[in-house]
Subunit: 254 residues, 2 copies
């Protein structure tokens, strides 16, 4: 957050199916990777049900804090798809049947088959730009700083690709991972805190994983300056090697 | 939300590594499944960075709205583990070195190896109960209506099992899935909305998926009354069969 033109984003995942456990979300990871590669800092994610009041409240909280808010889910043809209604309400604009969106739908369905349910997918908040969907045509949209996407992961990827050239980009974050294997976090935590304090221009995280009854820990250094990241990585690798030489990796607790 | 003793929950996922894309979260799905099986409605999820201010703000918003708030992440020994500090701050209680937690840590590490970093894992907000961790001993804790767990998925499962007998339980939600195959949502959306309106005591969702270039849609009926769920399922199956007989599954758009 130190750069003057710091770009931040939030993601709003909309869908009862995530909260019920019926669907395991994949879009959070996809959007996180997408933004990190562009130097946009994802600061917050929320998951809310398909309810207009909950969606509006979350949108209003997030869109005032961040450069961009992305949403996934709730823009299909069924009765539980209420995202477009909620976004229009949040911005205080009418939800209109958009001729551009209708034309896109007609690329995939014959005019006689364009029933009322399918026409729901052409309802776009007035003033929004459309976001292309190369998978199934029904578009997402972009209004103010809010980018509204479908929930199906393949369509999310298509829509992210469509908006990518139009997003402001920051300095990409450089991330380096140091594998410390079974050395427990408790063996290096004090020294790592010192290194993190010595390198305030990068962020240093320690991430335990648990595989086959053993911890498999990694330290991650992230920052926007390559030289600063590399200096911190080198210092931490030296510190870990010293601890290993001193036999500090023999404890069994993290 | 109709039952008088309606139980709701929120989940707060704490960790820079989820927001950076470095780690793909698995705990949301695990907690969602766990709560659904117990009749506790997961109403909201948030993901925030390892920053005390962000954690306190999210906790304060969530714990006033829900029966339970679960958190994952940020209770290890390293400098980026600040969840215990944040929870103590949110409740306005001191963070103390808890003798019960120290005793648990000493089950896994020799007294001489219990350095300052490891002792961080015994820092518990005053007045909290401990939550057992059968994987690596370092406990979670439960204060007020907030249940604080580790981030490693295997430890989350261990901690959920530990708190399960102490949670209030609601009527479990019954969920039935109707596979509609390639029939596009647009072909049944209008009729499905009618069935949803005719069965207001259940919730009806339609969920598209996309596999090998084709949509593979499912309709999910959820509710607490078995007879009501079954009646809605039967009505929707009949409706889908009629549409299929009328050739409505031949369109290519959802």
């Amino acid at each position: 957050m130190s750069a003057p033109q710091s770009l931040t984003a939030a993601l709003l995942v909309i869908g009862d199916e995530i909260l019920s456990g019926r669907t395991k979300d994949k879009n959070i990871g996809t959007v996180a990777d997408f933004l990190a590669a562009r130097g946009i800092e994802l600061r917050e994610v929320r998951v809310v049900p398909d309810e207009i009041g909950e969606i509006v409240a979350a949108l209003d909280a997030m869109r005032r804090r961040h450069t961009y808010v992305f949403t996934t889910g709730g823009i299909g043809p069924t009765h539980d798809d209420v995202t477009a209604d909620a976004v229009a309400a949040a911005f205080g604009v009418p939800l209109i049947e958009d001729p551009r969106a209708l034309a896109l739908l007609l690329q995939r369905v014959a005019p006689d088959d364009l029933n009322a349910a399918r026409r729901r997918m052409a309802r776009i908040p007035q003033g929004a730009d459309l976001v292309e969907n190369t998978v199934s045509k029904a578009p997402g949209f972009w209004i103010g700083n809010v980018i509204v996407m479908a929930g199906v992961p393949a369509i999310v990827e298509s829509m992210l690709a469509a908006v990518a050239p139009k997003l402001k980009g920051g300095a990409p974050v450089i991330s380096r991972t140091i594998d410390v294997g079974n050395m427990p976090e408790g063996a290096y935590a004090a020294e790592l805190a010192l290194e993190a304090a010595r390198h305030p221009e990068v962020s240093v995280g320690s991430y335990p994983a648990y595989r086959e009854g053993k911890f498999a820990n990694q330290i991650v250094v992230r920052g926007k300056g390559e030289a600063q990241v590399e200096a911190a990585v080198e210092a931490i690798q030296t510190m870990i090697a010293k601890l290993r030489a001193a036999g500090k990796d023999k404890y069994t607790i993290t």
